[in-house]
């Protein structure tokens, strides 16, 4: 078991290393650096000004060196201006040239500074991930139980009218992308165009406090999309279990149908959906991009969009580290959970 977890952690580190290098390479291509200089300096700077800006801010060194600095295996750059002021990678905020450490990379747990937000990357990621966490929590609360109920109801009597109706519903919700359902929800439930105005079409106020009014639409938009998928998986698994020999034996013994479903079928039917549900976490983390942008909820997905469109190198790198971390941790949990749900599987 310990070896298994260790191996997983090793894979995680290796994946992070590869992914961040790719992100680093792409964000450090010359046109991207030029864009960075222009968003930081002035949108209408001349080429000479761009070169001087890049040089002054440490972007003129070779890419591999700068990747090493970001990792924290090479010392951060320093530069002395004509008037004697020293600037450098590790000098920012309250840290002065004297007190600055030689190395400041993620190995030293320094995630760097965001160029868009002018803030520590770690504090941005912390705040934004927290907000996305709240959204994900409510999405899970709505999505998982309702998906399981729909799946079980549909799967317990395969081919029945309930099954047909619920299956159609699940397929329809999964087939509707969030940017379509979100816009429809806003138009129908939040705008003067239809006039219902039950909820708010903007979740900006939810960042200060979640209410039923401002959070229903974003949660519903995300939950519906994932719900159909989980419900379909649950239905398939449930239908399969219901045809198993031991269920037939139980029926012949005269066990009542509700008892069969709850006591005998459910646990076995939930093994497959469990993996799917765990897979939903990484999907949610990237799926929030659309919903957060649509409803103006400034969480992780929105941060990712801002970082990417402004070529905020260090923020983007940390976002990818977080994404890799979430994917592999949820997969680890799902593998371990599997063992408990299904005693037939043993960890190698």
């Amino acid at each position: 078991m310990a070896f298994f977890i260790l191996r997983r952690v090793g894979v995680m580190l290796l994946t992070s290393l590869c992914l961040t290098f790719i992100v680093f390479f792409l964000t450090n291509l010359e046109p991207n650096l030029e864009k960075l200089a222009k968003t930081q300096g002035n949108a209408r700077m001349t080429d000479a000004e761009v070169t001087s800006w890049l040089d002054r801010n440490g972007y003129a060194q070779p890419m591999v060196l700068r990747y090493g600095e970001w990792l924290g295996v090479l010392p951060g750059w320093t530069r002395e201006a004509e008037d004697g002021t020293v600037t450098g990678r590790c000098i920012h905020g309250t840290v002065t040239a004297e007190t600055a450490p030689r190395f400041c990379g993620i190995l030293q747990l320094d995630f760097g500074q965001s160029t868009v937000f002018r803030e520590e990357v770690s504090s941005i990621i912390g705040t934004r991930l927290g907000l996305t966490g709240i959204l994900m929590f409510w999405v899970m609360v709505v999505m998982v139980p309702s998906a399981l109920i729909i799946g079980v109801l549909a799967g317990m009597r395969e081919g029945s009218r309930t099954d047909r109706a619920l299956s159609t519903f699940s397929i329809a919700t999964t087939a509707t992308p969030e940017y379509v359902s979100g816009v429809i929800f806003i138009t129908v439930f939040a705008s003067s165009a239809v006039g219902l105005k039950w909820f708010k079409g903007s979740a900006a106020s939810a960042m200060d406090g979640v209410t039923f009014e401002n959070f229903t639409l974003p949660v519903l938009t995300m939950a519906l999309y994932g719900m159909g998928y989980i419900a379909r998986m649950t239905r398939a698994s449930m239908a399969e279990v219901m045809t198993a020999q031991y269920i037939r034996t139980a029926r012949l013994k005269g066990v009542s149908f509700p008892n069969i479903v709850v006591k005998h079928a459910l646990r076995n039917a939930l093994i497959a959906p469990f993996t799917v549900i765990m897979l939903q976490f990484p999907w949610l983390l990237t799926g929030v991009v659309i919903v957060e942008t649509l409803f103006n909820y400034k969480g992780f997905g929105w941060t990712l969009v801002q970082a990417a469109s402004n070529n905020d190198i260090e923020l983007l790198l940390s976002c990818s580290v977080v994404a890799v971390f979430v994917v592999l941790v949820t997969q680890l949990i799902s593998d371990i959970g599997y063992v408990y749900l299904n005693p037939r599987i043993r960890m190698a």
Binding site: F117, A204, N214
Partner: protein, 551 residues
């Protein structure tokens, strides 16, 4: 000063403008703009034309004290104010930092940190009188030292992206790229004198622009969001880029005039106008920043109050005369440039590109809102002539690539232009570049559209955009006669004499087919009923000190 009448302190040229306004040769707004730039107070200016000062005040109401206002606006990463490239950067801090002079909605200039100023006859000497009893919120007094330090900062062209340096070229030493010795001198703690080598009438208009906010003398070149030291009535409670900013009234700082609201929240909702409508309907905001295109109607339909202002903001669709495409310079030939202009009906571009919300322009980048505008015969489209010119230049089969940014009105206008060119039998392909990368090469595109913000004087625009070798000269236009005439025009304070030169400049713009400039934009904003003084400003300025909420 030699030019001011000792009895009244009114510049003689201002009296001349008043006569012309009364004779119907100049609109009220133009008159106010011209007269107040010469140091005449707006009340005195209204007096010159027989309007009562009540009318002068009628622009703004006095709101009751207190209240919280939420404004939708992008909250961008702060930077050194000299390098500001978006008005939002200034607006978010307008409760903290103030400029020396402001432009009002009626086009007049009014002193904020300056109480008054005097200009000599040929606009080579400016005496700036500072407002007494103004303090910084760190406790220091605001003095002439601050003003001189700021002028020195503005004139420092070694700072990348410092757009003030080109605006104040008359004070700058060309060899060092810094302020010329003796250009700005302290007369006494509340008086500063500017001495120019050449006449320049654009000094006062230039220091009203949003990068010209005044920083503390020891903090020139710093980013305001690192310290929030300023003269304004508010302090920054929160500033989160991309999310929002909160200004609170500063109880520890005596402000030199009244400020009404207790709290102003800027909410960043991104660039999609639909999201702003959703927030307005959710009652998350009280005022939007900009209503564009079809959204003007939508905001009005949900019961918000519109405000409109006609401006000299515009779009130009221009060719770069030096740009090489596959080894040739297609737009070096004046016949090609003229043909592109002749093939297009500007009124159609206004209708399709900007929903008719503006007035048709005549490809000169000088318009009736500019005091020195010369009336030329309207520009008539002539597709037949366009084809003939192209045939003569051997370019009829050339396939043009027309580039635009990916947004609402600029893309639509450029699409409409492409369609009209195709109708005229000219081959065009369109290329749309996302906003995040469009500005990387904006001056170098061979054939593309650009939006230009308004400036109070036409010569300011022409000098920024069409003078030989200017950083923002995107047409690569270089014409000795144009440069000479422009230099002459910029030295003349009297707009009638300047108009003779303007006529020639405008003719050159047409003869050389420098740009297609289809329309002047009207700008719109909406507020929830009950928001006071939130009207749209021609320069997009939102000065939070004036805002208020009705009881």
């Amino acid at each position: 000063m030699s030019s001011t009448n000792p009895g009244t302190g009114i510049h003689h040229a201002a009296r001349m403008f008043a006569t012309e306004h009364l004779a119907g040769q100049m609109s009220r707004r133009e008159f106010l703009s011209r007269a107040t730039a010469l140091g005449v107070t707006s009340a005195a200016a209204y007096g010159l034309i027989g309007a009562t000062p009540v009318q002068a005040q009628s622009e703004r109401v006095v709101p009751p004290m207190g209240g919280t206002l939420r404004i939708e606006m992008q909250v961008l990463a702060q930077k050194d104010p000299r390098t500001y490239d978006f008005t939002q950067l200034y607006n978010a801090l307008s409760g903290v930092l103030e400029p020396l002079v402001e432009v009002r909605r009626d086009g007049s200039f009014a002193g904020l940190l300056l109480e008054s100023w005097e200009v000599n006859d040929d606009a080579t000497e400016y005496v700036l009188n500072l407002r007494p009893n103004v303090a910084w919120n760190n406790g220091d007094a605001f003095t002439a030292e601050d003003v001189v330090a700021n002028f020195a900062g503005w004139c420092d062209s070694s700072v990348e992206g410092n757009s003030m340096a080109s605006r104040l070229a008359a004070l700058t030493d060309e060899t060092t790229g810094k302020i010329r010795d003796g250009a700005a001198t302290i007369v006494d703690p509340l008086t500063v004198k500017l001495t120019l080598l050449t006449s320049d009438i654009t000094i006062i208009p230039s220091i009203t622009e949003y990068p010209a906010v005044v920083q503390h003398r020891d903090l020139i070149g710093t980013v305001p969001s690192d310290h929030f030291v300023g003269t304004g009535a508010y302090r920054m409670a929160e500033y989160v880029v991309g999310v929002g900013a909160v200004l609170e009234k500063n109880p520890d700082h005596p402000y030199w005039r009244d400020a009404y609201l207790d709290r102003i929240e800027f909410v960043d909702l991104g660039t999609d106008p639909a999201a702003v409508v959703a927030a307005a309907e959710a009652e998350d905001i009280d005022m939007n920043y900009d209503s564009v295109g079809e959204f003007v109607e939508i905001f009005t339909a949900i019961g918000w109050e519109p405000s409109e202002i006609a401006t000299s903001s515009t779009v130009v669709i221009r060719t770069n005369q030096e740009a090489e495409v596959d080894g040739v310079k297609p737009y070096a030939d004046v016949r090609v440039r003229r043909a592109l202009a002749l093939a297009v009906d500007n009124s159609v571009l206004l209708e399709l590109g900007y929903a008719g919300l503006g007035i048709v322009a005549n490809n000169q980048h000088v318009g009736p809102m500019h005091p020195e505008h010369a009336e030329l015969p309207p520009f008539e489209p002539n597709p037949e002539e366009a084809r003939r010119l192209l045939e003569e230049a051997g370019m009829l089969d050339y396939e043009h690539e027309l580039i635009s940014i990916d947004d609402d009105y600029r893309r639509n206008t450029t699409d409409a232009m492409a369609a009209q060119l195709r109708d005229a039998g000219i081959k065009v392909t369109r290329k749309i570049i996302p906003g995040t990368t469009f500005w990387n090469d904006w001056t170098k595109y061979p054939f593309s559209s650009t939006n230009w913000n308004g400036r109070p004087l036409a010569v300011q625009l022409l000098a920024l955009a069409y003078r030989t070798g200017e950083a923002w000269n995107e047409t690569a236009f270089s014409n000795a006669e144009f440069d000479e005439t422009l230099a002459k025009a910029m030295a003349i304070a009297d707009h009638d004499k300047r108009r003779e030169h303007m006529r020639r400049l405008q003719e050159i713009m047409i003869e050389e087919g420098v740009v297609v400039q289809p329309y002047w934009r009207s700008l719109y904003r909406h507020v929830r009923p009950g928001v006071l003084n939130g009207e749209r400003h021609q320069g997009d300025i939102v000065n939070v000190h004036y805002l208020g909420l009705a009881e």
